[in-house]
Structures are given as C-alpha cells and as structure tokens.
C-alpha cells in the first residue's frame, strides 16, 4: 500500500511537471505583451523594456520557467499585476467560494445521483428508469451557462427567491451563505448528476448480477437486506473513481457559472486573468486548478484502494 502511495505520488509529480511545462510554454505564446498591457496606452519602447526586465521577462523562456518553478515551490507564486496582490493570497481569498460551491453542488448531486442511480438500476427498463435516464441525458445536454442564465432570470430576478449575485461568507451565518450560492450550486449539480447516475446505475446493475446476490437468495435474505447490504456495497465505491473527473467538471463549470452569478471564486479569477492577459496570475490559477485535480485524483485513487479490499489485499495472491 505504502508502495502504491509512493508510486502514485511519483506519477502525480510527473503529471504536475508536465502540466507546469504546458501551462508555462503555452502561456508564453499568448499575444499581448504583459508589460505593454500594464502600461496601457502610455507605453514607450524603453518603458516596456524596463518593465519587462523588472518582471523577469527578458531572459530565455526556460530560465523564466525555472525561476517560476523555483518560486512556485518556495511558495512565491508571484504577484498579479492586475490586482497587485500575491497570487497565493488571491487564490486563498477565492478558494472558500469555489470550495463551497463545489461542496454544495456535490452535496446536492450525490444523494440525487445515488437515489436515481440505484432506483433506475433496480427498476431497469421500467418507466422510472427511463425517467431517470432521460433526466440524466438532459442534464448532460443542457449548457450550464444557459441554465445559469435561465435560473438567474426566473428564480433570482423573477421570483426573487435567491440573491442575484454575490457570495455571503460563512462567517455571516451558515444558511445565509448556503442560500447565496444555492442557485449556482444547483446549476453545477445538474451538470454533475449525469455522469454520477450513469456510473452508479451501471455499477449497481453489475453488482446485482453478481453471484453473491444469488447467494443472498439461497440464504433466503429479504430483498431489502440483500440490496442494502450486498448490492449497494458493491455499487457505492465505484463513483469514487470519477470524483477527480467530477472536480474537473465543477471547476470547468465554475468559470462560466461564477461569472454569470458574479461569485468571487477561482473560476472568475481565471476568467479575469484571461481577459486581462495577466500571465502570471493565469499561470498560477491554471496550475493551481490542475494540481488540485491531480491531487484529488491521487487521493481518490488511494481512498479507493483503502476502501476496496479487492485491491488492498489483491496483491498478495497475484
């Protein structure tokens, strides 16, 4: 197990290294000279050069990369020139919003997905299964930004059930805070439910076909107990494997949803960085997001192994 963790961490570092190179090199090519941008219409060639130098943009790209990487590792992620604030601070400021959003949307999505996934597997090809699957398909097909707009118009602006914009921090009360991000969370959750239902349904279906289910019948167990104790157990850990993907989905969706609902989260920071061509900030945010995805993937992989004795003890007999 320890070996696996180390192995997984090493490969994770490999991935992060690769990502850091992509991010860096790709962003090097972005048009719009950052020095020029921060000088606005007041740029003269000399000023641009001077600023470039002070921003460390005058050395070859690989040196810039190494400097950036070293800085990054030592906790100095650089300073955003749009905000004039350390990027690490900017990210930590916004993290609570995006985290709350992600957590709430998963809190909404998971119970729904488990319920629909299990029910539609139990009643395979019955109307309820078709309904659940149609809902899931619809959830997959509806563009989140459109949904966000519609929700905003109807539920926030129209009926006034929700605040139209802005985030209320936890300190001002848990429920107020939840209420302030409920609508965007629902939008994000709708995007997440589809894949979750799919995987829960299919793992439930395969669990139901397993021979241990036959054994529960031989032993004369009630159907409820057989499903509750045996079938569910087999089905419930499968979604763990896609949590990393889900997180990527949520973060991707957050870019659009946060901007529509005016939530000061990581997604909006990212959009801001793109629009303002704040290279250093963009690098920091992109690397942060992708690292988060990679790390969550590693954690879920490890968790999956811890939860799943088939893998945990499997090695001994192979």
């Amino acid at each position: 197990m320890l070996n696996f963790i180390i192995q997984r961490l090493l490969s994770g570092i490999g991935v992060l290294f690769f990502i850091s190179i992509i991010t860096f090199v790709v962003l090097m090519w972005i048009p719009g000279n950052p020095a020029l941008l921060s000088l606005g219409t007041d740029a003269t060639p000399e000023k641009v050069e001077a600023l470039k130098e002070s921003m460390g943009l005058h050395v070859p790209w690989y040196e810039q990369y190494i400097n950036w990487l070293i800085g990054f590792l030592s906790g100095d992620w650089g300073t955003s020139y749009v905000f004039g604030e350390e990027i690490l601070i900017l990210i930590t400021q916004r993290l609570p919003v995006t985290l709350s959003l992600a957590a709430l949307s998963l809190t909404i999505a998971i119970p729904f997905a488990v319920m629909f996934g299990v029910i539609s597997a139990l009643y395979q090809n019955k109307w309820i299964d078709y309904m659940a699957r149609s809902l899931m398909q619809l959830g997959d097909a509806v563009p989140q930004f459109w949904l966000a707009l519609l929700f905003l118009v109807f539920f926030a602006a129209g009926y006034g059930w929700f605040p139209v914009a802005g985030f209320t921090p936890m300190e001002e009360g848990f429920w107020v805070s939840v209420h302030s991000i409920l609508l965007p969370s629902i939008v994000l959750a709708i995007g997440q439910v589809g894949p979750l239902i799919r995987i829960i349904r299919s793992s439930m279906l395969s669990s139901l076909e397993q021979d241990y289910m036959l054994m529960t019948r031989v032993n004369g167990l009630s159907r409820t107990r057989a499903i509750g104790k045996y079938a569910l157990r087999g089905a419930i850990i499968a979604p763990l494997t896609i949590v990393g993907m889900q997180l990527a989905g949520i973060l991707g969706g957050a870019v659009l949803v946060e901007s529509i609902f005016a939530l000061p989260g990581i997604g909006r920071l990212l959009l801001m960085a793109v629009e303002q061509r704040d290279l250093i900030l963009l690098q920091g945010v992109v690397f942060f997001i992708t690292s988060a995805v990679v790390i969550v993937n590693i954690i879920t992989d490890i968790l999956y192994r811890l939860v799943n004795p088939m893998i945990r003890f499997g090695g001994n007999h192979e």
Binding site: G14, W146, G253
Partner: protein, 273 residues
C-alpha cells in the same frame, strides 16, 4: 442492430440529430432571410409568420441564424472530434504497445491533459491561437485527445495479451501489421462509439467558447454566440435566449443518446459473446 432499433432512446437520438442535420442541409438551399442582414427597425420582434422565431437585437432573423449556425456546430463537432480521435488513437496505441519511459511519458502527458477542466484547456489554447472558427476546432480537438488516448490505450492493452494476438505473433506477423491489421479493427467499434458520444460534448464546448467570445466571431452566427448576445437582453427580451438554447440541447442530447445507445448495445453484445 435490431436491438438498437428497439431502443427508444436511440430512436429519439436519431430523430433529434436528423432534425439538426436536416436544418443544416436545408440551410444550403433555403433560408427564410439573410442571416447577417440587419434591419434595426425590426429588432427584437416576437415570433410571427414573417419571422418564425422572431428577430434579434439587430433585427436579424433568428431562425435563419440558427440554421446557419447548425453548419458550424456540426462542422466543429465532426472535425474537432476527428482530430482528437486520430491523434488520441495514435498516442494511445503507441503508449500501450511500448514500454518503460516512452509509455510513462505518454501516459503522464495524457494524465496531464486530462487534469485540465474542459473549458480551461480550450480557453488557454484559444488564448494562444487567437479566436476564431479554426482555432476553436483545433482547441477542442486537442481537448478530445486524452479521452481517445485513454480509451485506445486501455483497449489496446486489453487486446494485446489476447490469444489471437499471440497467435498472430507466433506465425511471424510484424508489430506494425499487428497494430494496424489486428488490433485496430477490434478496437474500432468502441472508438466509433466514443466518437459519436464526443460530438455532443464538442458542440457544447464550442458553444461555451463562443459564449465567452472565444469561438465563432460575429457577425457570423453560432448558438453560443447568440446566447452570449442574448445575455444583455435577458431582462427585457428573455425569449432571445430560448431558441439557440433549445437547439443546442436538442443537438447535444441527440448525439449523446446515439452514443449511449450504441455503447449499451456493444456492452450487451460483448456480455452475450
């Protein structure tokens, strides 16, 4: 195939996609109005006999714009997924049949690409390449690579220790021939399934990019762009966002349903075999 025909969701998917393809086909021969000609005196009209879906903020016919946009959507969907599938297949097959460092490197690369939330990678690439149709196609294509690479990697890995491959080795088949003549045909059906399922996703990403102003550029029409333009009028004229939103859902839903149904039927066939 007969099983597919009995699958109601598959049939629905076919119907939906045919609607969009039909709309696209018709757009080459007939458009109710010129989609790009403005008539500011007749802007933001509600649906009428003259303008079946009303007009937009410049008085352009929404139906015509939607019809023209379907070309972009289908084009981007098909081409970008083709790019992603071709490159992904190649990388996946190479990674699966090689060993050690090359495999590790390729897989880390794919993992790395996977870690980018969809829209983010596409945004970054468009930011580098510049806005526009072709760059959006390319960006989405690159986004699609890891999906196909992963899939073909695991399929090839699955197949390469199969006995029929060993048999082919045993009578002296070269590695290239094994990959192209023996492995590829067996994994192709799954790739094609993924292909059709990915088209919906590609169209969705294109619309998101256009929504953010990174995809198709005005005055050309794209559903995402139309939605983006409607944003300003969500309060005064909310209907503006309805037609492009619905057609987008129809298209994506259609492709997803087809992909899913084909996938299901293949899973069943494999289970039955």
């Amino acid at each position: 195939m007969s099983r597919l025909r009995n699958n109601k969701l598959f049939v629905l998917g076919i119907i939906l996609v045919s609607m969009v393809v039909g709309l696209c086909a018709v757009s080459f021969f007939y458009l109710p109005h010129d989609p790009n000609v403005m008539n500011t005196k007749e802007r933001l009209l509600s649906p009428s006999v003259e303008y079946l879906l009303g007009t937009d903020q410049f008085g352009r016919d929404i139906l015509s714009r939607i019809m023209v946009s379907s070309r972009y959507a289908l084009f981007i969907g098909l081409v970008s997924v083709s790019i992603g599938a071709a490159i992904g297949l190649f990388i996946g097959a190479i990674a699966a049949t090689s060993k050690g460092i090359i495999q590790g490197l390729l897989m880390r690369m794919i993992d790395g690409l996977m870690a980018f939330p969809g829209i983010l990678l596409a945004m970054m690439l468009v930011a580098v390449l510049g806005e526009g149709l072709w760059n959006a196609v390319l960006a989405i294509g690159i986004f699609m690579i890891p999906v196909f690479a992963r899939l073909s990697y695991s399929l090839v890995l699955d197949q390469k220790d199969e006995l029929y491959i060993k048999a082919a080795q045993s009578y002296g088949t070269s590695r290239t021939r094994i990959i192209f003549k023996h492995l590829l045909p067996t994994i192709m059906p799954r790739i094609i399934t993924q292909f059709s399922a990915s088209i919906g996703n590609a169209i969705l990403i294109e619309s998101s990019l256009s929504f953010l102003g990174l995809g198709v550029q005005p005055p050309d029409a794209s559903w995402g762009l139309m939605l983006s333009e409607s944003r300003q009028y969500t309060l005064t004229y909310p209907f503006l966002s309805v037609p492009p939103g619905i057609i987008l859902v129809i298209t994506v839903l259609g492709f997803n349903l087809i992909g899913d149904a084909v996938n299901d039927s293949m899973v069943k066939r494999r289970a039955a075999a």
